[in-house]
Symmetry: C2
């Protein structure tokens, strides 16, 4: 077992992944108590080593300031990089809260007697070894690691170079903390170089899942360079559709919040679809608000009829489905809810789409036919988030169609295996002319 | 909407996939009753058109007989190809039974009030458009299609060339049957050429999931030639481990059934692991049975001490993890349960592994640490099967680590989307110094 990050780094990534996979097997057999105690131990250690962590973070921040001055880094990124005592305390209380959540492991989700004495059950279990490649925000690291410890998964991390010193100390502190509770240091490993990431993506014999958290380009690069399943999303092209039965008084604040509250977020709205019946009254009022908040408007010709050409540009075909990630909103007027659904399924990224309507049937159709991980009614798209969903935190937001989908908390970090217990039962007894029939009787628990 | 298979074939595969994806959206919004009535309609139609189906099948069988005579096809494959009135009747009753199963769609698996009037729920929904590439057994076609109809998924099928005539008539009859219940013919489409399969694997804009059912080589080829998620398994390397606390009277019939009942099946055992304490008494008795049943034995040096060299060959390193798919059993003696678990996780294919033991703690460790979709106790590995699990049938057996896993019936054919309903709620209210706190209160249903 390695004792310092330097020793760990000196091993090849594959050998480390092999050891981490073995450590994952032991973690899978750990008790609920042991994993919860480890979370408590992490929270205490982060608090005790706060000054060491903040000193390391100050080094990263100092380097980043130079990058901001030379124009290589944005001020927003610098703000996300910076830790302080308040952020650390809030992290610790989040981890302590996670320890009180129900155990996602060993949950029986199906139980059937196939015959007398022959019982099948489906039981949740960890995914195994998870590789997470994430960007500069260092407070994401303890959150992601804590979700993995709670769900019994080992984790290999690669953070951004900007947060190098912060991440190194954080992982050091966390590894010592879990080791105190008898959990192997190999369950939490930090990689530091790009070359190591390439080796990780190639370690499909040991790594069960890759979670990239970063730019669209990073996610696409990873999707194209590994055979390991990738959880997450490249694009976040979210829609708000204001239905003919939509309440304008609700619609305007929902659209503004979806666009303005954090325009760079993946769950911010990019395209607004407006039913032709509500466009004449809604659009002028919305325009006023958008202009006041410095939002650039791009609109199709039908919407243009209700907007001032001084405030709106004509939409080009590739504006639909484009993730602006900025204070830009594309607006399209549609004749029917069918047209809205078709547009969303064609140009959306299966992330989150919201309808503003007071008509239950309209929402029922929208919910059934819009093929996205989040399909909302009368609320902002910005609620699509693991913390807001009540998952404590999230390791990512998945737009994949197989489980997990949407913000991924503990439930998304476990899979299941089938358990069968019998007493010498053989399949041959249930085959042929004298076959015993199966009972297939649900087990009452 | 196309009316004949010929017209369908004349369209390009991508255009068909686009139409089938649209049909999938409508099917997702269909009622439980409509989908169950469609299943009833399929069962009636297969019965009514039995003679037409059997005539087409007779043409395939006639061609196949020539291939058997010229040595191009095995007799076992010919038997699997042949339909008869009894097989058809059993198919129809299976489909009628499926109609009585609970609807896997629109099940609420999580419901939380985030705030007063702001409710989040997670609701099961279809995966979308599924591509299935399967081998010669034509009775698999109505089973797979029925599972897809019940679970609201559209399906594009490609069967083996040996079953060309049978599959064409089956799909024709089934499409007419679902159309009678108002379900679009585009939800069920048959491809007939290899070129069309290549186009299907490339249609990742429309196809949500590929399910290959066939040889290891076919599955590997497909995995390497598509960006669409692939459900299934290439190898089936299953183990039986007889623990130190294993009952020999149970062990022998379990091993024999796991190996002999259908040696070509993916859930047949390939390697037997025996604890050193039970080897001296178990192995000679097992040898007698294996020899009587013409099973070839391959054994490591420790096992050889208890076997006659006339009946067993020395194991080579690449015999571990090899799928013999035949009457061949590799045997290895281990010193501890840890050694057995390590061997299975290293050489197994995460399919199904069974322990023979009367010790509860041993099974608890084996279940927690063996990383396979099925982890059994005191039963044959051959039970790993959708029909035997009580799923009615299966579209495949998944060794993937994300959902679904194991035999895939209705549960594995649905995913979920998050529903959020509010009344104009915006994210900004829950942020900043005067942030409203979230309730995160479970909804009692």
């Amino acid at each position: 077992m390695p004792d310092t990050i330097e020793e760990t780094l000196s091993r090849t990534v594959h050998e480390q992944a092999r050891l981490s996979r073995l450590a994952a097997s032991s973690l899978a057999a750990s008790s609920t108590d042991q994993r919860n105690r480890a979370l408590g131990s992490i929270a205490v250690a982060l608090d005790q080593h706060a000054s060491r962590i903040l000193e390391a973070n100050a080094m990263d921040v100092q380097q980043a300031r130079q990058s901001v001055e030379s124009g290589e880094m944005s001020r927003a990124l610098l703000n996300r990089l910076e830790l302080n005592a308040t952020k650390l305390r809030s992290l610790c209380s989040g981890i302590q809260q996670l320890a009180t959540f129900p155990d996602p492991l060993n949950q029986v989700t199906l139980a059937t007697d196939l015959d007398d004495g022959l019982t099948l059950s489906r039981v949740t279990c960890p995914i195994g070894l998870v590789g997470v490649i994430f960007e500069s925000r260092p407070d994401a690291l303890p959150q992601i690691v804590s979700l993995c410890v709670k769900s019994g998964n080992a984790i290999i991390l690669k953070g951004g170079r900007e947060a190098e010193h912060s991440n190194r100390v954080l992982v050091d502190v966390i590894r010592d903390a879990v080791a105190e509770e008898g959990i192997s240091r190999d369950t939490i490993v930090l990689l530091e170089s790009r070359e190591e990431v390439a080796a990780l993506l190639d370690a499909d014999a040991h790594v069960d899942l890759i979670i990239p958290r970063g730019s669209n380009a990073l996610v696409r690069h990873i999707q194209e360079h590994t055979r390991i399943p990738v959880l997450g999303h490249a694009d976040g092209v979210c829609h708000v559709y204001v239905d003919s039965a939509g309440d304008r008084d609700k619609a305007v604040p929902i659209i503004i919040d979806s666009k303005v509250q954090y325009p760079a977020a993946c769950n911010a709205v990019e395209t607004l679809l407006v039913h032709i019946d509500v466009a004449p009254l809604l659009l002028p009022r919305l325009e006023e608000e958008l202009v006041r908040l410095d939002v650039n408007i791009i609109a199709d010709s039908r919407s243009m009829e209700y907007l001032s050409s001084a405030n709106a540009d004509a939409a080009k075909p590739d504006d639909w489905g484009h993730e602006f990630g900025d204070l830009v909103l594309a607006i399209k007027t549609v004749s029917t809810i069918d047209e809205a659904i078709l547009h969303i399924n064609r140009y959306g990224s299966r992330h989150t789409d919201s309808i503003v309507t007071d008509n239950d049937d309209a929402f029922q159709r929208f919910f059934a036919e819009v093929d996205s991980a989040g399909v909302f009614r009368n609320v902002s798209t910005r609620f699509s988030d693991g913390f807001r969903y009540g998952f404590g935190a999230e390791v990512g937001i998945s737009t994949g169609k197989l489980h997990p989908r949407g913000p991924v908390g503990l439930d998304g970090l476990v899979t299941y295996k089938y358990k069968m217990e019998g007493n010498g039962h053989v399949a041959a007894s249930y085959v042929g002319p004298n076959a015993r029939p199966f009972l297939h009787r649900p087990v009452v628990r």
